[in-house]
């Protein structure tokens, strides 16, 4: 059994009538890159705020590196780095001033831990005299990560670090996380982008305060219960509607210019489906079996009774 870095048992949290977290339990191993995948309102931020000792759970217990989030909160704060979902550095301080500020709070200096953050910091160092509020989205994100890392934490909590960030910056951000993981840091990261799941060691798919499943991305895909076809045929809008009327179809979802069509039946005759679409005036129909993506799995779990 690997050493546990995070242990969460039966945590519930309510805000008025809203059940933000509904009996959540999971463990994260030391050195693991663990992802929480789910939309806004799933409970990701509430969970991160509880683990970073900023919020108390109603019921349940949590520990981080063996420290209880209630009794030992000061210890947890020393060893954790936290990047909140909302940019919360000082907008009217420069890049360098923000870093020095966070270093000082944790009783260290930029020089002392420069090695740890240099890969990330170097990319924004040319702008070190610029005010944080004047940085682009991608640069803000790099600065926030540098500030979260400045005290050499054992564990990082990154709450939606890639939301609203363009595809290239997202890619670069995940490359940085991979390097931090190689340095042995445990990373908990949340994201609404389903395609980022495959970059994590394990993920929890979360919706309405509940964990729908926890596993490695490969295992989750492996457990997808339906047989799935990818269908392409000109007008996607028309195609989606017609596929939904086809006998035996369980679900139809657009994936770019193709439609993913799921059947309970494992032996669907693609020839019949092709004939049906041709009859519906579709030209150049392409049908092929396709492996489910995490997004297919997520949507299936969401709608499962």
């Amino acid at each position: 059994m690997p050493v546990k870095s995070v242990h969460v048992q039966q945590v519930t949290k309510r805000f008025g009538e809203t059940l933000a977290l509904d009996d959540i339990s999971f463990d994260v191993a030391r050195g693991e890159l663990f992802g929480f995948i789910g939309p806004d309102g799933a409970g990701k931020t509430t969970l991160f705020r509880i683990l970073t000792t900023l919020l108390l759970a109603d019921t349940g217990t949590c520990s981080v590196e063996g420290h209880d989030v209630v009794k030992d909160y000061k210890k947890i704060r020393k060893i954790s780095g936290y990047m909140p979902g909302k940019f919360s550095l000082y907008q009217d301080l420069t890049v360098e001033e923000n870093l020095n500020f966070f270093a000082t709070i944790f009783g260290t200096t930029l020089e002392e831990n420069y090695d740890l953050i240099k890969d990330i910091y170097r990319q924004i160092e040319p702008f070190k005299t610029r005010k944080a509020g004047k940085l682009s989205g991608g640069m803000k994100q790099k600065l926030a990560l540098s500030c979260a890392m400045i005290h050499k934490p054992d564990i990082l909590f990154l709450d939606e670090p890639t939301t609203g960030v363009d595809a290239v910056s997202r890619l670069e951000f995940w490359e940085m996380l991979k390097r931090l993981k190689e340095a042995g840091i445990t990373i908990l990261v949340s994201t609404p982008y389903m395609d980022e799941a495959s970059l994590c060691d394990r993920v929890a798919l979360i919706q309405n305060g509940r964990i729908m499943t926890i596993s490695t991305p490969i295992e989750i895909i492996h457990h997808y219960p339906l047989s799935l076809l990818s269908v392409k045929a000109g007008d996607i809008y028309k195609l989606l509607g017609e596929l939904r009327s086809y006998p035996g179809v369980h679900s139809v979802f657009a994936f770019g210019q193709t439609a993913h069509v799921a059947f309970h039946d494992k032996n669907i005759d693609t020839g019949d489906l092709s004939d049906f679409l041709v009859k519906m005036q579709h030209k150049s129909v392409e049908i092929s079996p396709v492996e489910a993506t995490i997004e297919d799995c997520f949507m299936e779990l969401m709608t499962a009774p």
């Binding site: 363009d166 595809a167 609404p192 979802f253 657009a254 770019g256 949507m299």
Partner: protein
């Protein structure tokens, strides 16, 4: 397809400078009536600047622009009456009810009370929101807010609707339902001008432009762009283009 050859947006040599910084560097493009036009670009590439100008909220430094048949310099108020806009922050009022928000926006766009009532009735029925009519916006789920914000943005039957990252943060099923609404609006002849960071959504557009450093680096149908850049998906097209500037 309801796309025809009439240009609903014409932009020629649009330049916008902030001091010495060139946010939009000679943009030239057209959008056809009824088209779903994807306006992509990296953070800081100049998308928001251009959208603000197209919506009549900011003046260009130079260039000629016509939106919905009106000149962006001399007929701004007419432009504003003929467009709808939905921001990523959904500008609905949290402490007003669903109906009050519809009435408020209808009023702003100059609809008569009678029209507001009939349209809001139809709208709530279509969205299945009748039971939520008197609920405060802050108490309804994110996906509902998003659908409502879109419906409100097209309540006055604009010629064009601008959608600025409309699907950020919603679940994958709601995201697809939202695109069904976009298709429907386009089918009804409303031109859709949309920005997104979800590259699969770029594939749903009729044509896509990709901005890099204030310029339009590519503009074509998703199929042609993938062919041109020998890329299997729009995500790869985007990464090739936006990364090229770093190298």
């Amino acid at each position: 397809m309801t796309v025809n050859n009439e240009n609903i947006i014409t932009v020629k040599d649009l330049v916008k400078k902030f001091g010495s910084f060139v946010a939009n560097d000679h943009l030239t493009f057209e959008v056809k009536k009824g088209e779903i036009f994807g306006f992509l670009g990296a953070n800081g590439a100049g998308k928001t600047t251009a959208i603000k100008i197209l919506c009549g909220l900011s003046y260009p430094t130079s260039g000629t622009l016509r939106v919905a048949g009106f000149d962006i310099y001399t007929q701004r108020e007419k432009v504003k009456r003929n467009i709808g806009y939905m921001s990523q922050k959904f500008s609905l009022y949290d402490d007003l009810t669903v109906y009050e928000n519809i009435r408020f926006y209808g009023g702003i766009y100059g609809l008569r009370k009678k029209d507001i009532d009939s349209r809001s009735q139809a709208l709530m029925q279509r969205l299945g929101f009748e039971a939520a009519r008197n609920k405060l916006i802050r108490d309804i789920p994110l996906g509902w807010k998003q659908k409502l914000a879109f419906s409100v943005a097209i309540l006055h039957n604009p010629k064009i609707v601008f959608l600025d990252e409309p699907t950020g943060g919603v679940d994958p099923i709601t995201r697809r339902q939202f695109w069904d609404m976009i298709y429907e609006a386009a089918h009804d002849g409303i031109t859709v001008f949309v920005t997104t960071h979800y590259m699969d959504e770029a594939e749903y557009c009729d044509r896509v432009s990709i901005m890099v450093d204030g310029r339009i680096a590519a503009l074509d149908t998703p199929d042609n762009l993938k062919r041109q850049f020998s890329a299997p998906s729009m995500n790869d097209v985007f990464i090739k283009l936006a990364r090229a500037k770093v190298a």
